[in-house]
Symmetry: C2
Subunit: 156 residues, 2 copies
């Protein structure tokens, strides 16, 4: 489990570095599909990882909108701040936690239960999926995307 989180964290840092050579206009430009802009997508990835991992720890989710964070510096800082809370939980993960139950309320107030292992894998897949969208948009912007390869990253 940890290796795929480490992969996501490394790829996310590569995208933050990639963003430094791109204009704010290009980062905020409305795109087709997904969340709609490169920077909003990175914010969404940070938000969703933190909120689910907080849920697993019975801590409150992050509920703020994108607009107050709509600069590269602010999203990068948010990611770093949340990482300090996410990382220890991921590092402490054991296979036995896979089958623990997380019960949440739907917007309609109905209880819904997920397995902890289901949530962790959802968070992993969520980030990789959205990064795939960034790779298309980066080509639209005429830029080479960050490599998505998991091999050759020194993770093993």
């Amino acid at each position: 489990m940890l290796k795929l989180f480490e992969y996501n964290w490394q790829v996310r840092q590569d995208w933050f570095a990639w963003c430094q050579d791109v204009s704010e206009e290009e980062l905020l430009k409305k795109r087709t599909g997904g969340i709609g802009s490169i920077l909003h997508t990175l914010f969404h990835i940070v938000d969703v990882e933190f909120s689910w991992i907080s849920g697993l720890q019975m801590k409150p989710e992050f509920t703020e909108p994108f607009e107050p964070y709509a600069t590269l510096q602010k999203v990068t800082e948010l990611s770093a701040r949340f990482h300090e809370e996410v990382r220890p939980f991921v590092l402490s993960w054991t296979d036995e936690m896979d089958s623990k139950d997380l019960t949440e309320l739907t917007p309609k107030g109905e209880p819904v239960t997920f397995k902890y292992g289901e949530v962790m894998r959802h968070v992993i897949a969520h980030e990789i999926h959205h990064i795939g969208q960034l790779s298309v948009w980066s080509r639209e912007a005429g830029k080479v995307p960050v490599t998505a390869n998991l091999i050759r990253r020194g993770l093993f």
Copy 2:
């Protein structure tokens, strides 16, 4: 490990079903980014999963080009055929296999070594990443993409 493969296989089947309502012209249309068309991307996902898993089993890779497979039916059939060979290996996976070495030759003939666990996670991330690209292209084609959610799929 198995759960993320099962997720990918389920999402892939959802995309094959999605493709059935889309014209062949749209499926083969050259897109910006990635491999370049929806159908070629699905072929590439099938190819890469099979070739790496074959490598881990010391079996030959798949080396054929896309062109002879450039219909939805042929890519779907190839996916089903390869699945019969990939699935038993994934089902037989144990954590101890993570640290086994796979040595391959680069195009220049130089040996390069990967851990089995590294290759397995690379294959997982590879498919999710490319599916993220499909989600953008489907919006460009005016269609709602397959959900990328891992939760609520009955996997747990």
